[in-house]
């Protein structure tokens, strides 16, 4: 790799050729503020706060758009730079409202943080700010089905404009008017209609673009923890962070409050889609299964686990007594690899080496409306672990390229050749595809036993003889294999609701009750056995994958924009910026730290 060596603030810095000064400074851990620069989109150079002094150049330069050259001598803490930067900050705040106490971005806002650190201590603005509010008009306007735009707060960095043009591939956002009248807007005020619209909240460096989903719901200091996990709503498997909000004092625990993407250059870069971002409400929704249920007569009645397991075992043994292969399993590809591994041992133990043929893996596909030029594509397959099932030896037909074939199972069930169907579905409602035939088959008596191990109460669960509450993707440590074949870990973020149990645990205790050996105490034990059984594959390291736990909020108060956490991780190692103290002026004499501002109307 070709490199160039330059000096920044007296430090020798060596970076790859073609890097800009700002990137070099970030890599070297030197704090330079910026707004319009974002590592995932192109360089614009419109916010001007990243200005630095370069020796032998006549004027201050924007570091985001200046490419590093050998022997450059750059100063980021020069008195001239500090004064000029403070001037830029003063201008940025000319029209920016000081509604930080009620702004959703407050506490995780780069404008707030950088203004404290690099801006002038006081404002000279004694004239009214530009506001859009008026008769019947709000500065805060609808910005499409998922977003709100607060035009007052916008600092016109154009990150959203470039995101839509470059990543989404459909430039729906533009800047209308010019100069002082400029505002972010969409054609005919139609708003942003995009599958990637949620990312605009992440890249907006101020509280101008907010998601309707998160708006007014929580503040950074209400979120005691954040868990690095992954999204399992399609076969892409984006790395995400699950944000947890503390419940009120009278209620224990935490609740999911939002999902944001986590930088992963191999899979999702800085982005995630709206499906993964906003489809988490079902996890803590009213339809969640919280207790095991048994059918008594025509009604499903809640029961304790110890009252459910013996009859379940009895009914299954009865169904499989004449022909074990008349017990079939219908498994959603939302099941994690651990669950599939335990299930494999279960069916092998019961049915012999041909056991896997009793298992049908199901998933759905849906067409995601995206522009042809979109760089971030959302795959059609709506399940995270089709490849995991394939790697374990299950029959998955066309895999992630097509739909599963449920017809053989359906024909067998409707012809009465199947005595029992055991459904395993830890995914959201509908993730098995069309199984509307299963309930009627049970009701008509063609099928003798229907067991549903799932997470939501739906039509299928309502028709079941036994309902076993399992765990969703944010409630268990589990691994999934995405469409690239990457084995990825999804960490537990929240506790299980009610008496629900992790799915591998339910399967393992069922297997134990049927007389099989299941020496597992935790999902980690399962992964260890999985790793031992598949040497030489990507699963051989399954037991070394890292699962995170909630990170305390005080660490995250420093992490301003979640999509730029990689930056904050080394920018601020101690505390959030405090007024009167500045990283950039550490160790400098007080008179040099003072940013001089001339009082208005006084000539020097």
């Amino acid at each position: 790799m070709e490199t160039v060596t330059l000096t920044i603030d007296g430090r020798q810095v060596t970076v790859a050729k073609g890097r800009t000064l700002l990137q070099a400074a970030i890599e070297a851990g030197i704090s330079v503020p910026y707004y319009c620069y974002h590592p995932g989109i192109s360089i614009d150079g419109s916010c001007r706060v990243c200005i630095v002094k370069i020796e032998k150049m006549p004027k201050l330069q924007t570091s985001c758009s200046t490419v590093c050259a050998d022997g450059m001598v750059v100063h980021t803490r020069d008195a001239e730079v500090i004064a000029a930067r403070a001037g830029v900050f003063e201008f940025l705040l000319v029209n920016h409202p000081l509604d930080c106490p009620v702004c959703d971005k407050g506490g995780e806002c780069p404008l707030q943080d950088f203004s404290y650190t690099f801006g002038p201590a006081e404002s000279r603005m004694d004239f009214p700010r530009r506001v859009f509010d008026g008769e019947g008009v709000k500065g805060d306007v609808d910005f499409g089905p998922t977003l709100m735009l607060n035009r007052q707060r916008c600092i016109l960095c154009t990150r959203c404009v470039r995101f839509m043009k470059e990543v989404e591939g459909d430039a729906q956002i533009g800047i209308v008017d010019r100069g002082y009248g400029s505002e972010i807007a969409t054609f005919e005020e139609r708003g942003v209609h995009s599958l990637l619209s949620g990312n605009l909240m992440d890249i907006c460096p101020v509280g101008a673009i907010l998601t309707r989903d998160y708006r007014f719901k929580s503040r950074p200091w209400d979120n005691p923890g954040v868990v690095d996990t992954m999204c399992t709503l399609c076969s892409k498997g984006c790395s995400t962070s699950a944000w947890l909000k503390a419940r009120p004092e009278w209620a224990k625990g935490t609740q999911l409050i939002r999902m944001t993407p986590r930088f992963n250059p191999e899979v999702n870069n800085y982005w995630m889609c709206d499906i993964g971002r906003f489809t988490y409400h079902w996890v803590e929704g009213d339809t969640r299964l919280r207790r095991p249920m048994v059918r008594r007569g025509s009604a499903l009645e809640p029961a304790a686990w110890h009252d459910v397991e013996p009859p379940l075992r009895g009914r299954l043994q009865e169904a499989g007594s004449t022909d074990p292969s008349s017990v079939r399993f219908l498994v959603s590809a939302h099941a994690s690899t651990e669950e599939l591994f335990v299930l494999k041992q279960l069916v092998r133990g019961l049915l012999g080496s041909d056991g896997l043929s009793a298992v049908t893996i199901a998933w759905t596909r849906s067409n995601k409306p995206q522009s042809a030029a979109a760089k971030f594509k959302v795959p059609a397959t709506d399940a995270p672990n089709v490849n995991g099932a394939r790697d374990l030896g299950y029959r998955v037909g066309p895999g992630t390229d097509g739909l599963p074939d449920l017809l053989p199972l359906r024909d067998a069930v409707e012809a009465g050749r199947v005595k029992a169907v055991y459904v395993l579905d830890p995914g959201p409602d509908g993730s098995l595809g069309d199984v509307s035939w299963l309930g009627p088959a049970r009701r008509s008596g063609a099928l003798g036993l229907l067991v549903v191990q799932g997470v939501v109460m739906n039509e299928l669960a309502a028709a079941a003889d036994f309902v076993l509450p399992g765990a969703t993707y944010v409630e268990k440590d589990a691994i999934y294999t995405n469409d690239q074949g990457r084995v990825q870990a999804a960490s537990r973020a929240i506790g299980l609701p009610g008496e629900a149990r992790e799915d591998w645990d339910i399967l393992a205790s069922l297997a134990r009750s049927l007389g099989l050996a299941m020496p597992y105490e935790s999902s980690h034990d399962v992964r260890r056995a999985l790793a031992a059984s598949m040497p030489g594959t990507a699963y051989a390291q399954a037991d070394t994958l890292v699962f995170t736990r909630p990170v305390p909020a005080r660490n995250w108060l420093q992490a301003s924009n979640p999509s730029e956490r990689w930056k904050w991780d080394f920018l601020y190692q101690d505390l959030p910026p405090v007024k009167g103290y500045s990283v950039q002026t550490e160790g400098m004499p007080p008179e040099a730290v003072f940013i001089p501002l001339k009082p208005v109307g006084v000539r020097s």
Binding site: F132, G134, G136, V137, K138, D140, V141, D142, P145, T146, M148, R151, D170, A171, Q172, I173, G174, I175, V176, D177, R178, E183, A185, T186, F187, E188, E189, L195, R212, D213, L233, D274, I275, F278, T279, H281, T364, S366, K368, P369, D382, P428, G430, S431
Partner: protein
């Protein structure tokens, strides 16, 4: 799983923007003649910089009805291969593009330094009084539209006004009334600008009123 989770979306209730939107307009397409001109012009740019032809396309579109409707912008976007938002971006940037009907003569008064020093503000005041309209408005009979603009590039002849695409120089406040009457009577012939565009070697004129 739906494309978007169900969320309340009631733009009519209070989250309304007061931004003046371009008129929707009827169906719009270039005339075959303009289409040919556009196709010819777009060849001047490399294929990956097709967007450079956007100003020319907008002039062609505006030339037909004097202002640009949303339908016209959409047609230009389609011709250029960009989105309507990007076209509106350009339209709203330039003072030469209009999104509502304008008068036969659009009077652009320069208000930048040289003209301002020579009394451009008073020129505007005189024009307001004479025409009975404020900057940005069109008079009742659709003859004149008054706009204040930034530097027209004729500082040596300040104060200068631009009428449609041609300059009129040294328009002192005292001469405004007579100038308006003159334009009303003689049209473009009343203008003095030395920058008055000439028809030369077949290079076509792009005027709003042509």
């Amino acid at each position: 799983m739906s494309f978007h989770p169900p969320m309340e979306y009631a733009p009519a209730r209070f989250h309304k923007s007061a931004r003046p939107l371009p008129e929707a307009g009827g169906e719009f397409a270039f005339t075959p003649e303009n289409q040919a001109k556009f196709d010819e012009n777009v060849k001047r740019y490399p294929p990956d910089q097709r967007k450079s032809a956007i100003l020319y396309a907008l002039y062609l579109a505006q030339g037909r009805q004097g202002y640009l409707t949303a339908a016209a912008m959409r047609h230009v976007a389609q011709q250029i291969g960009c989105t309507a938002a990007e076209v509106e971006d350009v339209v709203s940037y330039y003072t030469m593009f209009f999104t509502k009907p304008v008068g036969k003569y659009v009077i652009n008064v320069c208000r930048t330094l040289s003209c301002a020093l020579r009394g451009a503000e008073r020129v505007t005041e005189e024009l307001r009084a004479k025409l009975g309209i404020a900057p940005g408005e069109t008079d009742a009979d659709g003859m004149f539209t008054l706009i204040e603009v930034e530097c027209l590039g004729a500082c040596d002849c300040a104060p200068v006004v631009m009428v449609n695409d041609d300059w009129h120089e040294h328009l002192t406040p005292e001469r405004v009334s007579q100038f308006i009457d003159d334009v009303r009577a003689r049209g473009r012939a009343a203008l003095t600008g030395c920058h008055l565009r000439k028809e030369k070697n077949g290079h076509e004129q792009l005027t709003v009123d042509s």
